[in-house]
Symmetry: C2
Subunit: 330 residues, 2 copies
């Protein structure tokens, strides 16, 4: 009996230990959850290792720009959480972009791309910056394709997409496939949800506060965005109206994810707000007509910081240059 009792005790401890370790803490508001480990993949652009490798080369390659100086990584730097920490990015001939550069991290989860959602998916988004005269400033798709051909890309495209497949569409597909690998798992919050780690008391207060005052009606779910457009009456940018032409879309923007938000300052579509506390304060006031106390702001910021995950580890690519290649020689 003693032996049995002892054994039962150990069993109980083991079970209770397992239960606690794997259990979702009861204080986490409904809907919040762990960052998914896989992104939706479009049927016409399946993932493959050679494709994401090609996409990685293209992502880092300044040959995508007319000047040979600007790459996707210039503004969506993988060393700074997929952004450049500038209000508006520096582009061709030192022009500034029209809006703050959103992060490429976790971007495979969004149901539309750009602040105004003008690109339905990453494949469409990737075609924007090359043709934008203030970004990569390529004269035409043909000019860009001929540069990529000169730079040695044709055989790599052929390996991934089949014979004679170097094209603007396939360039975008490869980049999109690579971007779908840029996930940031294992944020302190994710570990907390899984009962594998803890977050501070302040962060827990912030977590409850954002649910209580209604932030999470839009910044909802494991991605902390419901992937909708919402009106944000702040600044002069008319947002989605510039895409649809409809008055009812005036000042509508995509709801941004909170994932890694502490690392992607400055904030808002115009990058006009430098600190996360100021961004929190403004959002609560403008969107929810709520004046937050300083301690509420501090708690919410503490919570948002728990949403910083692990940056993906990426081996810097060597570009497929033929011997003797000189880009934009003069």
């Amino acid at each position: 009996m003693k032996l049995l009792s002892c054994g039962t005790g150990i069993l109980f401890l083991l079970l209770s230990g397992l239960a606690v370790a794997g259990e979702r803490p009861a204080d986490i508001p409904e809907g919040m959850g762990v960052l998914p480990t896989t992104v939706p993949i479009p049927a016409d652009n399946p993932m493959s290792k050679p494709k994401t490798e090609l996409g990685k080369q293209l992502y880092f390659d300044p040959a995508l720009s007319k000047s040979g100086h600007i790459s996707c990584n210039s503004c969506h730097n993988l060393g700074t959480w997929g952004v450049d920490n500038q209000a508006r990015s520096i582009g061709h001939k030192w022009q500034r972009g029209g809006r703050n550069a959103p992060t490429s991290f976790n971007s495979g989860f969004w149901s539309a791309q750009f602040w105004d959602g003008r690109a339905p998916q990453l494949e469409d988004q990737a075609k924007g910056p090359p043709m934008n005269p203030v970004e990569m400033a390529d004269d035409s798709e043909e000019e860009l394709m001929s540069r990529l051909k000169e730079a040695g890309y044709a055989p790599l495209f052929d390996k991934v997409f089949g014979k004679n497949s170097l094209s603007f569409d396939n360039m975008a597909k490869a980049i999109a496939a690579f971007e779908r690998t840029l996930l940031t798992p294992d944020a302190p919050f994710d570990l907390y949800v899984q009962g594998k780690g803890n977050i501070s008391t302040a962060a827990k207060r912030g977590m409850k506060k954002v649910a209580e005052i209604g932030c999470t009606s839009c910044h909802s779910g494991p991605l902390f965005t419901n992937n909708t457009y919402q009106q944000f009456l702040y600044g002069t940018d008319d947002g989605r109206k510039s895409v649809t032409g409809k008055a009812e879309d005036d000042h509508f923007f995509r709801v941004q994810s909170w994932r890694n938000v502490a690392m992607t300052a400055p904030y808002f579509h115009d990058g006009s707000v430098k600190t996360l506390s100021e961004a929190v304060r403004i959002m609560a006031k403008v969107q929810l007509d709520t004046k937050l106390s300083d301690s509420d702001v501090a708690d919410i910021v503490a919570f948002l910081k728990t949403l910083t995950g692990k940056a993906p580890q990426v081996i810097y690519p060597v570009f497929p240059r033929p011997a003797g290649y000189a880009l934009n020689w003069k």
Copy 2:
């Protein structure tokens, strides 16, 4: 006896096989050899893993520039053999550099840095671009250090160099240490020298030709440079004279290595020559008063192409940003 004879035969075959595989082919001109596997390390800047990791972060980090847009890697891109394939690089506010950007690959082997040798070693070189108004354009060392501190570098410096060690000197030391890891071993020529591979008949003709006409009196040894200054009466740049002020240094430049030269077009201090064949033709004429035939040029180019090694594999760093960091916010 039969057994012994058979055994001797096998032994002979083994020895002869080993000898051929490991043997330096007799046709390789004296002095030419395999790229060394280690670079000279200055006594006051020993190598360590944390130091080269810090140096890698600094090398890729645009926070080194006033604009937050330009990194060492902008002009010395590890994806394009340590150069940017531009005649003269794009710098701060889209200004162009004064000379062609030399490669950072194998740069630990040179006895001086820059075309005019104005920096004795990599530690000195790394201090140049940040302070150059047409490159990274930092206002002062203090301004740069305060930006690196804001960007979260102080604890990383302290880990490598000791307490309160974030300084311009240590920044340069870390970058230099990282650059000393950027070696490109196992070029086809290196494998040929070691009896581990072959090069084309044209390349072998080129190899003999460069020795015969005298290229290798300066482009000598395993690095294909004797690390001296030589007069090159081409263009208007007065070269080393701008450093020493001495008339006898007019139009003197460091002898460039041939290692990876096929990948680092365009050529010469002003980047004025796009193709390697043209560069070969001009050098033979100007330096050696030798008019090369088209087939000699083709052979020499074929040989130079065998000097392209394996690019180093580098994991792209995540920079040490504190939460809420915004660089050059407005």
